[in-house]
């Protein structure tokens, strides 16, 4: 079937790239660095969207939509943001193509149709949104303003990989405005926790909540909260960020409000986002050499039924029972597919659904009809059992819950096994090269040390964990005083 995968231990990166394409999640497009998200991959993204969207709404956020284009001058208003984002971007300079007089059938830019001011395709929307918020906020009664947007953004990346780093990607970006600093900080923290809960409970990916060091934080933020996950190859992946922006954007765009005391004050801001990058984290946390492994919550198909038959008559008998099973599962809200195609053999189907990560597979043939059983296979453990047809739906409902739980436990055990306390730089380098994962080490708090460690090892500070026992010590690199340990790792 030409679908066999490179094994992970052979070449993890190649395994990932092949799996994303062969499992029909995404593929590269005709535009350098831009991907096509295929129907199966998009169906998983829709589940991520739906769950997050309901969580945002439950916490008082509303969706809106802001323009794709940001006039160059809006970027100039907030210097750090411009430094961080407006440089590597897609720039629209013209608004017309015309037939090329020198090359029949070809198009060229119409030199007459040059824009007075170039438009940047949004790499993020703080500038355009704060320029809009100025018109929406006058009084403390207009606050808090809690807005989210589902959108595409473009960052001109030199090295791209499907889902992990693409020129265009899909994301949600939250932008909120508050009357007080305390409230804005609380919002940034609330969202970071919301992200952590979502990623852990829904995607079964364990994460560490923390804050970013000065050099890793968002351009224009006072504080960046983040959730960090660990992939199977020992590299970290930033799965989401939530920023406390202080008064930076309010000052850049002159957004003030009349307080309940009648005073004019600047508004406090947050912004936060997760993206299609989560799809990469999903693949690299759970999947194996046979293909995708999907947590039941995210699986577009949770159970597939494959009929075993030698002739038309057998297929008919088996189908009758299979349809009863499928309908009973559907009535309980289980997403089930009965694959009764005669164009493909059962063995081909087994491999295909393994590749696609369907959590449970039911095989049913003439012998099962006699015995009143089915063969039930778990994708995550690749284990098989025979189950009675009677009461099967309850067994499956419970198994789906077990799989969701077990995937998290397994990933958490792996992650915990890959957090290593190190106290010397030798140890730091040894563990990083032999085992990878997070290195929990003392750091003197300076960007210089961070930069030097990165230069020597490629490891960066992934975060300063929010939950840790405070412990002073000596910086693993400089030997200077350290107030706390931080998590270093090589990262995606």
């Amino acid at each position: 079937m030409g679908k066999s995968l490179t094994r992970r231990e052979e070449d993890y990166s190649k395994w990932y790239n092949e799996l994303v394409v062969k499992a029909d999640l995404a593929e590269n497009s005709a535009v350098r660095g831009c991907m096509t998200i295929k129907p199966y991959g998009y169906a998983i993204w829709e589940k991520i969207q739906a769950e997050l969207d309901s969580k945002f709404k439950d916490t008082g956020h509303e969706n809106a939509y802001f323009p794709l284009f940001v006039p160059k001058s809006l970027f100039e208003a907030e210097e750090k943001n411009a430094e961080g984002f407006a440089k590597e971007c897609a720039v629209v300079t013209h608004y017309r193509l015309q037939s090329d007089p020198d090359r029949p059938g070809k198009l060229r830019v119409d030199p007459e149709a040059k824009l007075d001011e170039e438009l940047v395709v949004r790499p993020t929307s703080e500038a355009v949104i704060w320029n809009t918020f100025k018109g929406w906020i006058q009084s403390y009664r207009d606050l808090p303003l809690k807005i989210n947007q589902w959108a595409n953004v473009v960052r001109w990346e030199m090295r791209t990989r499907l889902f992990l780093r693409t020129t265009e990607f899909l994301w949600q970006e939250g932008h909120t405005a508050h009357a007080t600093k305390t409230e804005a900080v609380e919002e940034a923290e609330l969202i970071n926790t919301l992200y952590a809960n979502f990623v852990e409970k829904f995607m079964a990916i364990p994460v560490i909540q923390g804050i970013k060091s000065e050099s890793e934080k968002f351009a224009g933020a006072e504080e960046t909260y983040c959730i960090e996950a660990l992939m199977q190859d020992g590299k970290a992946l930033q799965a989401g960020t939530s920023h406390f922006l202080g008064e930076n954007f309010a000052k850049a765009f002159n957004v003030k409000f009349t307080s309940d005391q009648g005073k004019q004050e600047y508004v406090w801001a947050t912004s936060w986002g997760v993206s299609t990058r989560l799809m990469g984290a999903l693949v690299m946390t759970h999947s194996d050499d046979n293909g995708l492994v999907l947590p039941p919550n995210l699986a577009p198909i949770q159970v597939v039924i494959v009929p075993i038959f030698k002739n038309e008559e057998q297929l008919e008998l088996v189908s009758e029972k299979a349809n009863l099973i499928a309908n009973d599962l559907k009535s309980k809200g289980v997403r089930v597919k009965f694959d009764n195609r005669t164009t493909h053999k059962p063995g081909w189907k087994f491999a295909e659904y393994e590749l696609k990560g369907i959590p449970l597979r039911i095989a049913i043939g003439p012998k099962d009809l006699e015995k009143g059983t089915v063969e039930l296979a778990r994708r995550d453990t690749l284990s098989k059992t025979f189950e009675n047809q009677e009461g099967l739906t309850v067994v499956i409902e419970n198994l789906l819950k077990d799989i969701q739980h077990d995937l998290f436990i397994k990933a958490e055990a792996f992650r915990d096994d890959h957090i290593t306390k190190v106290d010397t730089f030798e140890e730091f380098k040894d563990v990083l090269n032999s085992k990878g994962g997070f290195l929990f080490a003392h750091w003197d708090g300076t960007s210089e040390t961070e930069e030097k460690i990165k230069g020597l090892t490629k490891a960066t500070i992934r975060c300063i964990p929010l939950e840790q026992t405070k412990e002073t010590g000596k910086c693993v690199f400089s030997g200077k005083e350290s107030k706390q340990r931080v998590l270093f790792a090589k990262a995606y």
Copy 2:
């Protein structure tokens, strides 16, 4: 409150523009021709999306996502499509901004970062999708391929109006591939009917299904099906289109499949879309001089409860009952809001919710507590009744259904009253200028006649209705033989 609207008969166009902004649906942005869709407007759009999306899925379509950018060369592949779409578009020519050495704090395009090939921001995605389909389709087993995409698109419009014509807009675009012509034509028709049912049943907007004349059809289509609605000012609005594309795109992008007979054949295509333009149709079909009127199916809030009180104690008593009413409504799935703000007077709230088009308003005060009643006001008819608190939920559930139904009936009566059979060009012009609406007239079938009528009257052929008694006659303009009547109108 500064929210009073221009009256429709005074200036319909001004009424529309004001209403869209004042009812918090959308506003203009810093980018010429691009709008910001505000939370209230976006909540309505989300309801449109959710309903359509489930209808697409029920009919076997899957969502996917294709790149925002289309390399210029892909447009060159399909000549008519390029003629129609690739001309007035946003063109990305560079991928970097840099600090301007001559103007501190300002940015400029980096002349070194010029793209080898310009990228067009998609005005529609046929080119990029058919270039992708080439890799997805080999055999008849891969067909039909039925894909939909929710996306933003950009067309560089010179004259823009919120929702009706904006440089960037949101839409869905379906793209399907089929083994036979018959199947592709059936798909185009199925979707047009799906659109008609959705717009009529969910948005309460009556439409006429038809096909476009040669000069009005989609560039690159063999046949364009459409649904046409009539606005209150007598102008038509194209609410959705569904195209049978023949083999045009398959040939342009060389997409062939091996048939079940083992032959290599070109694939047959359709594409179809509706956009945020539907929001404009919604406003202009139902709303009045007091503001929006929303069909209950689309209303983010279906019922608002406004407490009437003179002091804290009264508010408390009224709130207790109001919360009971609200909770009972919620338990039946009714979207209800209890507005217990003390910062605004009841009169202000009444006007506000009228402006926002909330279908039903409950007012409840101390006297109602005594009598066991509430005051119930319908937004569409502006009528008020007193209802018993006992059994109120059932009354409201039925009223919401009635309102949904009545809005359609009212709009249908208006539309039917504005379809006029005309048999001379004098009559044509008279009716067009005095009453507007659709003119049902004989046409000789030529683009020349169509063009001349448009030049003289600004009326165009909106569609050749699918359902009509065939009737021959003489063209209203040229006097030549005509095979059928068609619908002319001035249009948005």
